[in-house]
């Protein structure tokens, strides 16, 4: 446990380094972390709500103005942060070649730092969503207390993906090209534009196997006070823990070959 805290305190400066470097010299800096997802929400809700006349399916009653956009945003925050980690993880080892070859330090830190950076952006976006909900008078709610649980689930999934994709991606470079395509497809096969409950049964099977479904649904339920089916969470949660264990083992086994490959 002590070593976990040590690791976190070591990864934080590395994450900060990359965040600062990313926005250094740009006029609005960290605001870009908000502009991008908000623009995406605007476009998607314009198309789905304005053109396709989509309504949020399922039990929610308060289908007021902008409600579709808000629910979309809630799902996109989770999906976007997971897919960003996945995409960048495939190049993580190659991008840090000089560290991998020349500096002695626990390489897992690179994965943890990546998740931290992305989580920081996610946190900012969540703050904007919260502010937005407060402005339209749709909050706060007691169910917001479940948000940390959704966040923890998201982070756990991010860590698993980062460890697996970074280590395998170092060997099989094709992942750099496969993962982005996969992610843009998965956007529609994840419950982002619709609740899982409203999906046709054929799609439902896919959604059950998509590890992103749970954190997305959980986050939305927490934001909007939908009922949470706790019994359904048990098996995926156990699965996450197992996945975490195997991801760490995989990374630790494969890391010995990194320096030879980059």
């Amino acid at each position: 446990m002590g070593s976990l805290i040590d690791q976190l305190s070591l990864a934080w400066p590395l994450a900060k380094r990359d965040v600062i470097a990313r926005y250094r010299g740009s006029a609005v800096g960290l605001v870009w972390a908000l502009i991008t997802p908000l623009a995406v929400v605007a476009v998607y809700s314009l198309v789905f709500e304005g053109v396709f006349k989509a309504r949020w399916a399922g039990g929610a009653v308060d289908q007021g103005q902008g409600s579709y956009a808000l629910r979309l945003f809630a799902g996109l925050i989770v999906f976007g942060s997971i897919s960003e980690v996945a995409g960048r993880a495939t190049r993580l080892i190659q991008d840090n070649a000089n560290l991998v070859k020349r500096v002695v330090f626990p390489l897992e830190l690179l994965c943890v730092a990546l998740v931290m950076q992305v989580a920081l952006h996610g946190l900012l976006q969540a703050a904007v969503l919260a502010a937005w909900l407060l402005v339209v008078g749709d909050g706060p709610r007691w169910s917001w207390l479940w948000l940390p649980l959704a966040a923890a689930w998201t982070v756990a999934l991010q860590v698993v993906l980062a460890l697996v994709l970074a280590s395998v991606g170092c060997y099989v470079r094709d992942l750099q090209h496969v993962v982005p395509v996969l992610m843009s497809g998965l956007l529609f096969l994840s419950p982002v534009f619709y609740p899982a409950a409203a999906a046709p049964s054929a799609l439902r099977v896919l959604l059950n196997f998509n590890p992103m479904s749970m954190p997305i649904e959980l986050a939305r339920a927490a934001w909007f006070g939908d009922a949470i089916d706790w019994k359904q969470l048990a098996v995926p949660a156990l699965g996450m823990l197992l996945a975490m264990y195997f991801a760490l083992r995989l990374f630790k086994r494969l890391r010995f070959g990194f320096a030879d490959l980059v």
Binding site: S9, P13, R17, A21, L99, V100, V103, Y171, G257
Partner: protein
Amino acid sequence: MPTMDDTVIELVEVAKSYSLEPSPWKRLWRQLRADVTSGPHHHALRNVNLRVRRGEAVGIVGRNGAGKSTLLQVICGVLQPTHGHRRVDGRIAALLELGAGFNPELTGRENVRLNGPLLGLTPAQIAARLPEIIAFADIGAFIDQPVRSYSSGMFVRLAFSMATSVEPDILVIDEALSVGDGAFARKSFERIMTLKQRGATLLFCSHSLYQVEAMCSRAIWLNDGIVQFDGPSHQASVEYSSWMGATEAAAAGALPEPVRFDTASAAFVKVRVRGGDIPMRSRLDDLEIHLHFRSDPAIPAPTVGVTLHASDGRTLSSAGSWIEGFVIRRDASGEARVSLVFPAVALLKGRYFVSAYVLCERGINVYSSAEQICTFNIVQDGPLQGIVALPVEWQQDRFDD
């Protein structure tokens, strides 16, 4: 088990080979099965046994591609040996690449603060060391400028200052000393020596045989990944340079490009051979080399070294004021004129080069280098062959021996 074992680095039958397997899936599969030996390989290190004791200074010499860097990387733990065992006790500071992890967009201060984890330092630990790191790097107001605006010298100063701030038990240096300007090279050398005096173990890899000999009592000569020699550094130097001489004579290369530079610490004004345009008579005339240099009066009195070379570039002889214990006196502005005399020079007929160097007071850091700066000719009476006339005596032996 011995109670006190002061071995800090131990390599037992270590080999490192790089897989030449082109298929990524096969590589992945082999790594997963921890079977890294099958398939085609390039062998970078073979069967290396090494034991380094606490406080030892070990130099590693060898040609490019001999496996020096691989050996250091294996010792540091960046590379995993394919065979054998590695055991290292204590904290390693690896100066394999200075400033790895520095981001050019961030300021020097930010880079030091945020790259602390790469040295195993927590934010609190790095914050405590920050003032000292900045003071040692001595780059002034540039510390708050983006690193991309640094000169390469400033970059190295900051990175070196940071890398050595951790009080390592083992310091691994890969050619890092050759960078930086004269004054800083001196400072960095002082720091390395201080760490060594405090008991740090030193591993030093360099092309410069001379530096290895000056800093390390023990040296390893690597060739094609095999340890050819492990022992006293002066002996390693002999083994290595004679082998180099043999292979290079076979390759029949031209004269090496002369290295000439000055630094802020010292600069040659003039180097000349007295009467250099007139041929000297072998074993009759004195060879007098006059050296005139300027130096920074703030640094301790520098030393001067001179080497004589044959026309094919081979070094024939050398002299160093620190070796012979000659103290050079300078005037207030740091200028000095000295001369070196080879009485009745014993060289045989031919054309010779003189190279001269100004060095630090220990004779390790080169402040100013003037290689092949002047030439002289020797003439002789008689048909003696060779480059030098060694003293001889003829005797009549009995027939029945």
